[in-house]
Assembly symmetry: C2
Homo-oligomer: 798 residues x 2
C-alpha cells in the first residue's frame, strides 16, 4: 500500500487545515499527537490497560514495549526458565549446575531489563503501586538469593534445596501480557469464599459420616481384603470416605460391609448420594454462578476502560469546526490515525470504516462515532476477489468447452462430496485391516491417488488462489470448514510425501522406520476427520469446540502454573522414593519399585513404579493421573507408605485445588460457551443476543455508548480489486449499513459474524449458480469477528 495518500477524497479537508479557518484555534496535529492517539486506539483494540506516561519519549518507549519481538522474547525466556527443571537435579537430561545457573541468570537479566523498560514507560507512582511489578521484583531477588545460597551450600557439600523454583511459573502470571491468566486467577479468587463455605459443609458431612462409620462398622470385627481391621481408625475412615466422594475406591471400600450385611450398603449409598452427587454438584453450581457473575463484571469493566481510552484518543485529535460547535475529528486526521494503528489496512477497508462512522457523509465525526473505532478495527474484514480461472485466460476455448463445463458441474455437485465421504469411510476400514497383507498396503496408493485427484479437480474448477488463500471463498461457510480444507490439503500432501519416503526406504534397504510408519498412520487417520465436517448437524458442536480453543490455552497456562508448583514440591518430597526398573531388568527390587516399604502394597501390585516424582516429566504425568482422579488414593497411599502418612495432605490439596476448583471452572466455561452457541444458533439471532445482553446486564451500560455498529457490509466493486490490479485503483464503494438502534449495541461482533455466515451461504449459492459471471459479484467484503481477549466466550467479550 505504498500509493500516495488520496488527499482529494474529502474536499473541505485542505480548507480546514488553513490558518484562516473561522475558529482559528485548531493547531495542526503533530506526529506525537498521532502516535499518542494511535497508542490509545491500539490499547482499546487489544484491551491493554497500561497507564503509560504521555511524554513523547515515554510514548516511543511504550511503542517499543508493545512491539511483538520483546513480548515474544519474554515468553521465550520464561519458557527457558521453566524448562530448566528438565536439566536440574532431579533431571531428565542432567546438565552441570553451573550451566543451568548461567542460563537462569540470563533469564533473570532479561526479566529485569523488561521490567526496567516498563518502569520507564509508566509513571513512577503507578509502577510501585502495581502488585505485579512488586511480584516480579520479589521473584527475581528471591531467585538470586536462592542461587547464592545453593551455590554456597553445594560448594561446601551440604544439603541444598532450590526452593525458588516454585516461583518460576508465577512469572507467567505477573508478566504484562498475562492478562487472561490473571483474569482466570481472579475468577478463582473471587469464587473461593463461596466454595469455602460449601467445602466446610461438605467436610462437616464427611466427618459426621466417618463418625457414624466408626461406630456402626468399626465394632463388628470386619476385615478388609488383606485381612486388616475394617473402619477402626477415625482418620483412616475420613480419608477413605473422602476418596469415596471422588468415587475412586468404590465399591471396594464398601465390599467388607456389604459381605457382612446388605443393610450397610444403605449407609454408603446415602453417603455417595449426599456427598458425591449433591455436594459435588453444589461445587459446580457455586463455581458456575461465580464465574457468570464475575465474567459479567469483568466485561463491564473492559468496556468501560475501552471507552475511556477512545475518549482520550479523541481528546488528542479533536478540533472545533466552528465557534461553540461540537468537537470533531476530521477525515484526514482519522485516516492518518487508522494508518498508524493498522499499517497493513487496505484503502478500501479504511474507507469502508470511515463511511460507517460518518454515516451522514459530513467529512468529520463526533465523539460517539469516533469511540466505536476500536470495535470496528476488531471486526476483521476479508476482501475476497472472484476472478476468472487462470486456465480460462490461457485457454478459454478448452476451459469453456462442454466437457470441461460438465466436469465443473460434476465437481460442484453434492454427490462429489458424498462420494469422497464414502471413499474416506472405505479407507478407514482399510486402515483398520492388517497392513502386512500386500493387497491392503497397496490400496493405500489407490486412496492417495484418489485424494490427489480430488485436490487437482478442485484446483481445476475453483480459482487456485482462492482455494489456497487464507480465507478462501469455498471455506467461508464455517470456521470448521476453513480449518478442514486447508488441513485436508496439508494432510494429503504430507501423507503422500511420507508414503513415498517410506516406500523408498523399503525398496532401497528393506528397512522400514517405525517412526515414519507411525507418522503415516497418524496422517491417514487424521484424514478421516473430514467426514464429520460434511455433516451439518455436527457443525454447531464443532464450531463451539473450535470457538473455545483460544480460551483453553488460558486454562492450559493455569494448569501449567499449578502443575509446575506441585511438581517442584512433589519432587523435593518424593524424589527417588520409588524407582522404575526396565522391563528387561532382573533386579528383585523391581517387584516393589526398589523400596522395601512398598512390598505387598496395591501400588506395587498394580506396577505403578513409573508413576513417581523422580523427574519433572514423570511428575507432570503423575499429576495428570491425579487430575483424572481414578486410583489417586493408590498413588497417594503409595507415597504415604514410603514417606509418612501426612504425605496424603499433598494429594488431597491437589485434588481440592485442581479437581474441585479448576476443573469446575473449566466445566463452567464450557457450559457457558455452549449456552451462548445454542441460544445464538437457534431461531431469531437478534432476540437471543438481546436476552444474553440483558442477562449479563450489559444492556444499560451499552446504551450509553449509542454506537451503531455495522451489521452487514458488502461492497460490490466493478474493478478487479483495489491497489492490486494496476488498471483501476479507485474502488467504488457501495455499502449497505443496516444499523439497528435497538439491540445490537457493541455486542454486535458476534452478531456480525453470524450474519456474515448467513450472507456467505446465500452468496455461495449465488456464485455457484452464476458460474463464470464475474462482473456482478467481484469483491465481497465479509466480516469476521476476530478472537478477542476475554477468557469468556466471544459474544460478551466485546
Amino acid at each position: 500500500m505504498s500509493e500516495p495518500e488520496k488527499r482529494d477524497t474529502s474536499p473541505d479537508e485542505s480548507a480546514e487545515k488553513g490558518p484562516g479557518f473561522p475558529n482559528g484555534g485548531n493547531p495542526a496535529k503533530t506526529k506525537e499527537d498521532f502516535d499518542l492517539a494511535a497508542i490509545y486506539v491500539s490499547d482499546a483494540q487489544y484491551n491493554r490497560n497500561i497507564y503509560f506516561d504521555t511524554s513523547p519519549q515515554a510514548v516511543s518507549l511504550y511503542l517499543l514495549y508493545n512491539h511483538w519481538l520483546p513480548r515474544v522474547l519474554v515468553y521465550f525466556f520464561i519458557l527457558v526458565d521453566m524448562s530448566l527443571a528438565v536439566f536440574e537435579e532431579p533431571a531428565v537430561l542432567p546438565l552441570p549446575t553451573w550451566a543451568t545457573m548461567l542460563v537462569e541468570l540470563l533469564c533473570l537479566l532479561v526479566f529485569t531489563v523488561r521490567l526496567v523498560h516498563y518502569a520507564k514507560v509508566i509513571p513512577r507512582d503507578k509502577f510501585w503501586k502495581d502488585p505485579k511489578n512488586i511480584c516480579i521484583i520479589c521473584i527475581v531477588v528471591l531467585t538470586l538469593i536462592d542461587m547464592i545460597i545453593y551455590g554456597a551450600l553445594t560448594a561446601t557439600n551440604c544439603y541444598a534445596l532450590r526452593w525458588s523454583r516454585v516461583l518460576r511459573p508465577l512469572l507467567l502470571v505477573n508478566v504484562t501480557e498475562g492478562r487472561q491468566l490473571r483474569r482466570a486467577f481472579r475468577s478463582i479468587r473471587n469464587a473461593l469464599p463461596e466454595i469455602f463455605y460449601v467445602f466446610l459443609l461438605f467436610m462437616f458431612s464427611v466427618l459426621i459420616f466417618s463418625l457414624m462409620a466408626l461406630k456402626l462398622l468399626g465394632k463388628r470385627g470386619l476385615k478388609t481384603m488383606d485381612g486388616s481391621p475394617y473402619f477402626t481408625n477415625y482418620l483412616e475412615i475420613v480419608f477413605d470416605l473422602y476418596v469415596l466422594v471422588t468415587t475412586a475406591n468404590s465399591p471396594d471400600v464398601m465390599m467388607p460391609a456389604y459381605n457382612a450385611s446388605f443393610i450397610f450398603t444403605l449407609f454408603f449409598i446415602l453417603y455417595i448420594f449426599i456427598n458425591t452427587y449433591i455436594f459435588m454438584s453444589a461445587f459446580l453450581a457455586v463455581v458456575f454462578n461465580n464465574y457468570k457473575k464475575y465474567l459479567k463484571e469483568e466485561v463491564r469493566q473492559l468496556v468501560r476502560a475501552k471507552r475511556h481510552k477512545m475518549v482520550r484518543a479523541f481528546a488528542v485529535l479533536q478540533e472545533r469546526r466552528e465557534e461553540g460547535g461540537e468537537l470533531v475529528v476530521t477525515q484526514a486526521n482519522w485516516n492518518q490515525l487508522v494508518r498508524l494503528v493498522q499499517p497493513d489496512i487496505s484503502n478500501a477497508h479504511r474507507e469502508l470504516l470511515w463511511s460507517v462512522c460518518d454515516d451522514k457523509n459530513q467529512g468529520f465525526i463526533g465523539k460517539l462515532a469516533f469511540v466505536q473505532l476500536a470495535d470496528l478495527l476488531n471486526i476483521e474484514v476479508i476482501t475476497l476477489k472472484s476472478r476468472p480461472h487462470p486456465l480460462q485466460s490461457i485457454c478459454p476455448t478448452l476451459y469453456l468447452s462442454a466437457p470441461s463445463r460438465l466436469l465443473c458441474r460434476l465437481v460442484q455437485h453434492r454427490g462429489f462430496t458424498i462420494m469422497y465421504d464414502v471413499i474416506i469411510l472405505a479407507n478407514a476400514v482399510f486402515i483398520g485391516l492388517d497392513e502386512e497383507n500386500p493387497m491392503i498396503s497397496n490400496s493405500e496408493w489407490v486412496f492417495l491417488f484418489l485424494y490427489l485427484l480430488e485436490i487437482l479437480l478442485k484446483l481445476y474448477v475453483f480459482e487456485p488462489r482462492s482455494f489456497f488463500s487464507k480465507h478462501s471463498f469455498w471455506n467461508c461457510l464455517s470456521t470448521s470448514q476453513i480449518i478442514s480444507t486447508r488441513f485436508d490439503t496439508i494432510i494429503v500432501v504430507s501423507a503422500l510425501i511420507a508414503t513415498i519416503i517410506n516406500s523408498a526406504l523399503k525398496s532401497v534397504g528393506g528397512y522400514t522406520s517405525r517412526q515414519i510408519l507411525d507418522i503415516v498412520f497418524i496422517l491417514r487417520v487424521l484424514r478421516l476427520i473430514r467426514v464429520v465436517d460434511s455433516i451439518g448437524r455436527f457443525r454447531t458442536i464443532i464450531n463451539t469446540l473450535i470457538r473455545i480453543g483460544p480460551a483453553i490455552l488460558t486454562f492450559g497456562q493455569l494448569i501449567l502454573v499449578v502443575y509446575y508448583i506441585f511438581a517442584m514440591v512433589g519432587m523435593e518430597l518424593f524424589k527417588e522414593k520409588v524407582k522404575f526398573y526396565d522391563e528387561d531388568s532382573n533386579d528383585p527390587a523391581k517387584a516393589y519399585c526398589g523400596n522395601p516399604l512398598l512390598k505387598g502394597t496395591t501400588f506395587a501390585q498394580l506396577n505403578y513404579c513409573k508413576n513417581n516424582f523422580n523427574n519433572v516429566m514423570s511428575s507432570f504425568i503423575l499429576l495428570v493421573e491425579l487430575t483424572v482422579v481414578n486410583q489417586w488414593h493408590v498413588l497417594s497411599n503409595g507415597f504415604a507408605t514410603v514417606t509418612h502418612v501426612s504425605a496424603r495432605i499433598f494429594f488431597v490439596l491437589f485434588h481440592i485445588l485442581v479437581v474441585i476448583v479448576i476443573i469446575n471452572i473449566f466445566v463452567s466455561f464450557v457450559l457457558e460457551a455452549f449456552y451462548v452457541e445454542y441460544s445464538v444458533d437457534k431461531g431469531d439471532l437478534q432476540t437471543s443476543l438481546e436476552r444474553k445482553i440483558e442477562e449479563l446486564e450489559l444492556a444499560v451500560a451499552q446504551e450509553k455508548l449509542q454506537d451503531n455498529l455495522v451489521n452487514t457490509m458488502e461492497t460490490i466493486d466493478n474493478d478487479l480489486g483495489a491497489g492490486q490490479s494496476p488498471t483501476a485503483n479507485r474502488p467504488t464503494l457501495m455499502f449497505k449499513i443496516a444499523s439497528k438502534s435497538k439491540n445490537s449495541q457493541n455486542t454486535g461482533q458476534d452478531d456480525v459474524r453470524i450474519r456474515e455466515q448467513e450472507e456467505c451461504l446465500e452468496h455461495r449459492d449465488a456464485f455457484i449458480l452464476k458460474g463464470q459471471d464475474v462482473g456482478l459479484c467481484s469483491v465481497k467484503i465479509s466480516l469476521r469477528s476476530r478472537g478477542t481477549e476475554t477468557a469468556g466466550p466471544a459474544p460478551i467479550s466485546c
Copy 2:
C-alpha cells in the same frame, strides 16, 4: 369453622340476589355449579390437567377420583406390584408362584378399576386419545398374557420367563398422578436428539482414537500386567478407551505404554482431554441447555392451562351486575367457592384473600381478579398468635419476677446458642472416643441432661404452643430452622428414650442389643447437625438443598423406573452366574465366586462375588455401583466372562442412559436451583426475579394476566385470634397490600416467600425487643409459598 356465614359483610349482596335485580338474568347458582367451579379452581391450584366431563354425575365421580384415598391406594398397589420381585424367582424371600400370581392379579384388578373410574370421568374420545391410558391397558393385558403363558409353561415343566415384569415400573409413569415423572421423562426425550448428535461425534472420536491406538501400540509387542498382548484387538481397544472416558481404568490402561516410553502418554492425555473433559462437559452443557429450554416451555404451558381453568370457573359463577356491564362474581358466591375448595380455611384468611382480590372494596370482582384465586390459595398463610406464657397467667408474680426475667433474657441471648454449640462439639469429641470407658459412657447422661435442660428452658421462656406448633414463630427465620428445632426436640427425646432402654437392658440382663446401640449412636450423631444451622453463612446452601428435596423424589422415581427395568433384564441374563459364599465357608469355589470361568480375573481377585444379579436387592446395589461408575469395567468384564463378551452392551447401555443422561439432568437441576437461590439471595430481590422472568421469557406471557399479586400481607389484629378465642370472633382486618404493577406478576410466590423472610426477621427482632408487649403485634399472618408441582425450582413454577 362452623360459625354462620356473615352475610352482612357486603351490604349490597342481598340486593344483588333479589329477583328484581336490573338485568334479571342471573339465576341462583346451584350446588352443581359450585362443585364444578370448585373443581376447576382446585385443578388450577394443583396443576391437574384432566379434561373431565362436566355432567353432574361425572363431576361427583371426578371428586371421588381426586380423593386422597384412591390415589394413595393406587400408589400402594403399584408398590406392592413392584415389590413382588422380592418374592419371585430369583427371590430374596421365596414365596410359592401361586401366591405372587394372586397378589399380582389383585394389583391388576385395582389398576383396571381405577382406569374404568377414569374412563367414566372423562369423555370417551379424550380417553382413547390419551397415550397413558393406552399404556396402562397394554401393561395390564400383556401382564395377563405373560402370567397365563408362564403358568402353562411351568405346569408343563418348560423353561418360563416372566418378561412382563419390566413393564411394572411403567405404571408409575402412566398413572394419572405421575405428572412430575412424565415431565422428567419428557425432558429426557426432548434432550435426546441433541445428546444423540454429541454422542455420535464422541463415538467417532473414540473410534478414531482406537484406530490410532491399534496402529501405534498394537504392533510393539507390549504386554499388559497379566502378560496378555496389549492393544491388539480393535473391539477390545474401543471398550478400553470407552472405559477410560469414565476414568474407571485410569491409569492402568496407560501403564504398559508408559512403561515402554513416556511419549505414548501424550496419546492418552490428549484422549482424556478431548473425550473426558471436553465431550463429557459438552454432554452436560447440552442437557443443561435443553433442561432450561423445556423447563421454560413447560412452565409457560402450566401457566396457560391454569389460567384457562380459572376462566372456566369464572364462567360458571359469573353474573352480570347491570345491562351491558361487565361479568362479575359476587362475594357470597366467592366465599362459598373458597369454602368448597379449601374447607379448612379460616374466616380471617378467606377475608384476607377477598380483600386482596377486591382491592376497591366493591363487593364483587371481575375476571382478572378472579383468575388469581388459584395462586392466592397456593400462598400458604400462617396465622401466628403471640399470647402470654401460660405460667404468666397461672403465676404472674413469679414469672414476671426479676430472676425469672433475667433467665428469659439469658436464654434469649446469643451466648446461650453459642454455649450449646460448644456443648454439641464437645459431645462430638466424646462420641468419637471409646465408649467402653465408663467415664465416657456416663458422660452421655450429662449431655442428655444438658439437652433436656435446653428444651425445658426454651419452654419456660417461649410460649409452648408456638414452640411446638407447625410453623412456630421462633422458626419463621428459615425453612432449615423450622426443620431443625422440631427435628432437635424429636432427636433429643428419642435419644433419651433409647438410652434409657439401653441402660435398662444392660442393668437387667447385662445384655446390650447391638441394634439399640446403633440407633442411639445415630441419634447422637444426628444431634451434631444442629451446629451447622446456627451458622448463618450455611443457610443459603442448606435452604437450597432443602428446597430441591421434593424434586429429588421425582428423580428417585425416575431412577427407580430405570433401575427396575435393568434389574429385571439383568436378573434374566446373569442370575446364578456368580455366587456369593459366606465368610465362614470353606468351599474352594469361594475364591472364584463359584464359577470356574472367573478364576484369576480381577472380579474374583477383588472379591466382588456379592455384586451379582441373583436377586432384586443385589441387582439394585450392583446398579448403584454402576451408577457411581468406578470399577464398572471390572463388573462388566466379570459378567462378560461368565456369559459372553456382548454382555458388555448391557453395561455400556446402562452407563449411557444413567450416567450420561439422567445424572446430567440431575446436575442441571441442581445448577438451576443454586442459580435461582443465589440470584435471589443477593442484592435487590426484585431485579433478580425480574431477570429470571425475562430470561425464561415469561414476562410477556404474564403481562397479559395483569394480576397484581400480594407482595406483603400483614394483619394487625387487636384480638387474641379469630374464632378460637371466644371473647371476640370478628377479627378486624388491616391489610397492607403493596401491589407493584411492574414486575412481580404471577411469579410473586417466591418473591412473597422471600419478602416474608425479611419481614419475619424484622418482626422477630421487634418481638424480642418488645418482650411481653403482646397488644401490638398479636396476629401476624406470614406468607409461605407452598411446594408447587413443577419439577423445576420453585420461583418459576408459579
